[in-house]
Subunit: 407 residues, 2 copies
């Protein structure tokens, strides 16, 4: 008997018919002789509706109360899904994050799972129940409800798969799996059958929306095989797993892009030890998430450092950097909006030198100017003007042959 | 410093504006130097919307899952109300039934409170917080969410007032208090300023919808003074309290009526010990709530017993009684729909004999036929044809002077 963890997103349970459809899939999985643990998100747009209600009563609602409010979304979907499954004749029980033993720290609205007390989960499985667990939520030491932030339900699924030592963790979504690039941007792009945690992590961190970076990180940490697939068909999706099981000869796995970035530069700071620490500690202290950093060598004893941040952190970043500029006696700061970040990802890069050079050549030959470069063992990220982003992605996809030429 | 418990029903928090209005009242109570514990119901019709969703996924949803679903309604309203209060600058925290330590038995959908662990409540009050507690819900020994059934939020309020030894318990509703009779039925009826637990209990059990019988019972048990008043104005409402504090010379406190009843009669059963037990035990075993019972002496060794049940128990009652009829070798059963029950209530009856006779006289003199009679120390209940109910209520109100003749 296998233990299968399945996660269904909000669009898969958006209305009564879809809930029944998902219930059917779950019952089929159970009837094939498996134990089944299901993680569900809130129905369709219900979370947005709750946020709208909150705005009507308070301009700046406390995060603890927002978590209290938003966690009801999943509680609604788990109970409805359990009802639908029960009416098909299967034993089933719904569990909130708290009941499922999901313990978090107390960073309301973006809590991290610190422990899973799986006693009740195991007991209910032993009783022959299908478990329907609320994603995106947990409970802190004070017994208060927390939510896990963006992609939280995926994280719940992988964490439960790890805690229960599940045989597989299936993430159901509205696309067929992980694509080598965003199909809305790059024509005829290939679906990836298998991808390493490191590659998926880089893609997810640099703009691919299919999986959340935290859930991939957790999968890697506990070696949980993650199967990303569609809830609307029976196609095999993409398996995220250890790298040694992958096709060795693939150099490039995917291309991520992100328009929601701002490029910040701090000009004219002294070229001496401790400067970078001052800048990035002040940003971290103000909860600005810095995604990429590039510093080239300076001239005349002064440096320019640039970095990429999420667009919604722009105001915080500017305020922080204005103070830092004074403290460091720098020249000026600049924040550029009209940029995009393109990241070419592939574990094969490690054994195939020259990928970075190829990326720069493809862009340069096509007259696309590179504003910033940052590389790792498995990725090359470039910041370019946003107007060039779509063209760049398609050129790179053609060059690295991640599009399906037979289509 | 006084500790005030306030309960607001669904219509008082039906939308953002009403939530802000209620928040204002609460903040004012706090600013007058009181500690405040607030119990809230789900917003407006939100519970009905959730029930509708459940029907769409299952013809007969399990009660545990219904409670999981319905309890989200109060969780939404407590968080929104807490946000509104916080935006007015007051310290506040929302608590689910579970967080408020409300322990129940596990009769899902109509659980009873068995204990309140008030540690967290006291701690949060000591921290200077206004507490916003979800009504209608609790948690059982399995850590599962239960709901308390009809009038559950009132019951939560009185139970918390008892557990915290509150100075008063204010139940806010959409009427000004308890009226001597239903103002929709009886013209110019008087509001009651003060009423005993026993009288209120009888009125509540016999059709008055203002307070739930369970909450009155709990108030009596723990001697919690209950103040029923409107959330839409500042008028004093009705105080439910111990009888010795009441106006002694008032004979009749109120008249309750109920159209939602069925009169059942079982004819031709033997006049011997144990018969009544057989009948009413079989009804109780089948969860039929019997409200009034009347048996007069029989002739020729056979008896007829009649009783009143809630209309929604009719089918269950008929099925049960058909079996009982065979077991008792009785003659036939009858279930009459077109009846109403009128109950005249007053603690003063104990010292004023002849009230029952007066009731019968008023009805008889006006040609209203009495189908059944049942009396207690503080009440006279009669079953009449439903077409006569409104006329009977008005005649009795005039006779017992519970209408305001100055209006």
């Amino acid at each position: 008997m296998s233990l299968i963890v399945q996660k269904y997103g909000g669009s898969s349970v958006a209305n009564a018919d879809r809930i029944k459809n998902v219930a059917n899939r779950i019952v089929n999985t159970k009837k094939q002789g498996n134990q089944v643990v299901v993680i569900v998100s809130a129905m369709g747009d219900s979370t947005d509706d709750l946020i709208e209600l909150a705005k009507q009563v308070s301009p700046n609602p406390p995060k603890r109360e927002m978590d209290m409010l938003l966690s009801t979304g999943e509680q609604v979907s788990i109970s409805l899904l359990a009802m639908a499954i029960q009416s098909m004749g299967e034993k089933v029980i719904s569990l909130t994050g708290a009941q499922a033993g999901i313990k978090t720290n107390d960073f309301y609205s973006k809590a991290k799972i610190v422990d899973i007390d799986s006693n009740r989960l195991k007991e209910e499985l032993d009783n022959g129940n299908i478990l329907i667990v609320a994603g995106f939520q947990g409970i802190n030491e004070k017994n208060d409800i927390t939510t896990l932030g963006r992609g939280g339900s995926d994280t719940t699924a992988v964490a439960l798969a790890a805690a229960l030592n599940a045989d597989s963790c299936e993430i159901y979504t509205d696309v067929d799996g992980v694509y080598s690039a965003d199909p809305r941007l790059v024509k005829n792009v290939k679906k990836v059958n298998s991808i390493s945690y490191a590659e998926m992590l880089t893609l997810a961190s640099q703009g691919s929306k299919v999986l959340n970076p935290r859930c991939v990180e957790l999968g890697q940490l506990y070696n949980v095989k993650i199967h990303v697939r569609s809830s609307f068909n029976l196609n095999e999706g993409t398996i995220v797993q250890e790298v040694d099981k992958l096709e060795k000869d693939r150099v490039i796995t995917g291309i991520a892009h992100d328009y929601d970035v701002v490029k910040m530069t701090i000009f004219g700071i002294k070229d001496q030890p401790g400067i970078a620490k001052t800048i990035f500690k002040s940003l971290a202290d103000n909860k600005v998430n810095v995604r990429l950093i590039a510093q080239s060598s300076g001239e005349f004893g002064v440096n320019n450092i640039c970095f990429i941040i999420d667009k919604d952190s722009k105001q915080d970043a500017i305020e922080t950097m204005e103070k830092t500029l004074i403290a460091l006696d720098g020249k000026k700061i600049e924040a550029l909006d009209d940029v995009a970040c393109i990241t070419v990802v592939g574990a094969g890069m490690i054994t195939n030198p020259g990928v970075a050079a190829d990326v720069f050549a493809v862009l340069g030959d096509n007259n696309i100017n590179i504003e910033m470069i940052s590389t790792s063992e498995i990725s090359v990220a470039v910041v370019i003007e946003s107007k060039d982003c779509e063209r760049a992605a398609n050129l790179l996809a053609q060059y690295f042959e991640i599009i399906d030429t037979e289509l």
